[in-house]
């Protein structure tokens, strides 16, 4: 279980998280929605310890990541997680198979002789075969995402964190990735947290949806409840309207 309480984070004068409170139950898929720059990805990085919160706590299976200080313990903590990056973040210099099994050397005791077959198995799980020796530069965007997903699940983590899993993909490939996320949950029984602003994807994969706005969780509920919410800001976001309580501060981006 992931239990976040009062998570705060600022970058210089810009406050991103102002006290996020969230609980993710074992085996569920929680989708976090919110506008660009609302702090969704920052929160995800706080969970895995890539970003250190300024305050609050994030407890995963009894370990508070905000209290972990040295790299050995961070490595131990991160063993439980697989992380899918928004732009896949595959290592350019390695082949697809080497990318998939990269974490096994550090996260598991599996002998190297088994790496090739594991790479093939995990790639098959995400619907890819015969690309083991290709370089990431030779792959399409959708294939990169799937290879990254295979890499995230290679060490069989308990938790998978998805950062914008469908961003930049065509609608069909987005749906394929959604199906994969649902499949992985069924087959591996993992607990997942996905950050997205793709509402179609959110409705399809989520057990619960949480919306972050102005650094706090505005509402958290089952997708069917979110669809009929009375919260004006959440309604505006899920319906994708420019008019409403959420005012995009265009000047901030100038």
């Amino acid at each position: 279980m992931i239990d976040a309480e009062g998570v705060r984070k600022s970058f210089g004068a810009r406050t991103v998280l102002r006290g996020v409170e969230l609980k993710v139950e074992d085996g569920e898929t929680l989708v976090i929605i919110g506008g660009s720059g609302s702090g969704k990805s920052t929160f995800l990085k706080c969970i895995i310890g890539l970003v250190r919160p300024d305050g609050g706590s994030i407890v995963v299976d009894g370990v508070d990541v905000t209290k972990v200080h040295d790299e050995f313990h961070f490595a131990e903590y991160r063993r439980k997680f697989g992380y899918l990056f928004q732009e896949a973040a595959l290592f350019d210099s390695l082949t697809v198979a080497e990318n998939v099994v990269f974490g096994l050397r550090y996260l598991t005791d599996i002998p190297e002789t088994r790496y090739r077959s594991i790479a093939t198995d995990k790639l098959a799980l995400v619907g890819l075969k015969g690309i083991e020796d290709m370089k990431p530069a030779e792959l399409s965007g959708g294939m990169k995402k799937r290879v990254a997903l295979a890499r995230a699940i290679a060490a069989e983590p308990q938790y998978i964190l998805y950062d914008e899993p469908t961003t930049g993909l065509d609608p069909i490939m987005s749906d394929i990735i959604n199906d994969l996320i649902i499949d992985l949950k069924k087959k591996l029984g993992v607990t997942s947290v996905a950050v997205t602003h793709d509402m179609k994807s959110a409705y399809k994969i989520a057990d619960r949806i949480a919306m972050i706005y102005e650094g706090k969780v505005l509402e958290i509920a089952h997708p069917d409840i979110i669809k009929i919410t009375r919260n004006a800001a959440v309604r505006q976001f899920i319906e994708g309207r420019s008019e409403g309580p959420i005012r995009m501060k265009i000047k901030d981006y100038d």
């Binding site: 990085k45 790299e71 490595a75 595959l90 550090y106 060490a155």
Partner: protein, 272 residues
């Protein structure tokens, strides 16, 4: 009615600018020191990534060999031409050309020129590669896959530099002295046996040691500066460009500054 704007205070603005700059420098120095500390931590606490280290040795050392040898060869040649011609004008014969060329190349020009060339070639490549990895989240990916970028990326590069730069310098020294020999023979009519006598009569292991000590210090500085600039890249493609330029400029300037101070220490210790 809008609120009145506070009056512009030039003193406050200047102090703010100076203060921000000082804080930024202090922050960079702290990050750089922590990078060195973390590298030593992983060197002592984990197994070295030998495969990565060998790959880096090939990229930093073997692939830099032609350009460093060529640079030293022509440096030795021009040095012989300049000193031989000057001495012929002054003393009617180009005496001590071999001694001057070998001393200058082995103690000073070989280490410095090699360090400069490798900074420009391998140092820039390191900063650009790590910078690109940083802006495409590959560095974060390393953390999520159970390893530390300092252990996987920085340490192999630093070790490769520490091994390969002295080796490259030895080859460069040799190329420079050979270059001097060719010019002395062809342009100054100095017989090769006379040239080599002048070289070996005065050049000993102390001179070679003097040059190599400097090279090890250069290797340490260049590798850490370039890795630091790469790992702490901010922004996209523009950031990578800036980091690469900054890595090369800082490495080269550091080599020249450190060269003086290390030489001063070696001279004080009698290693001249």
């Amino acid at each position: 009615m809008s609120a009145a704007q506070p009056a512009y205070d030039p003193m406050k603005a200047t102090l703010t600018t100076v203060g921000d700059r000082a804080l930024s420098i202090a922050e960079s120095m702290g990050e750089f020191t922590l990078l060195i500390r973390t590298s030593f931590f992983w060197l002592l606490r984990s197994r070295v990534e030998w495969r990565q280290t060998v790959i880096q040795m090939l990229q930093i050392g073997v692939q830099s060999f032609p350009v460093t040898a060529m640079t030293s060869l022509f440096t030795g040649m021009v040095l012989a031409l300049q000193t031989g011609s000057s001495f012929r004008d002054l003393f009617n014969e180009p005496v001590f050309t071999g001694t001057i060329v070998s001393f200058a190349v082995v103690k000073e020009l070989g280490p410095v020129m090699t360090a400069m060339v490798v900074s420009g070639r391998a140092g820039a490549a390191i900063a650009a590669e790590l910078g690109t990895m940083k802006v495409t989240e590959q560095i974060d990916a390393l953390y999520t896959l159970g390893t530390d970028p300092v252990r996987y990326l920085v340490l192999p590069r630093v070790l490769a530099f520490l091994v390969m730069l002295p080796l490259l310098t030895v080859f460069s020294d040799f190329a420079g002295v050979i270059g001097g020999c060719v010019v002395s023979y062809v342009k100054l009519d100095v017989p090769t046996n006379v040239y080599w006598h002048e070289v070996f009569d005065h050049l000993g292991h102390k001179e070679l040691f003097h040059g190599l000590i400097k090279t090890v210090v250069f290797a340490f500085c260049i590798s850490f500066i370039c890795c630091y600039k790469g790992l702490f890249t901010r922004g996209g493609a523009e950031g990578v460009g800036k980091a690469t330029t900054s890595a090369v400029v800082n490495s080269m300037v550091s080599v020249l500054i450190i060269d003086y101070f290390v030489t001063a220490i070696l001279v004080a210790l009698g290693l001249t």
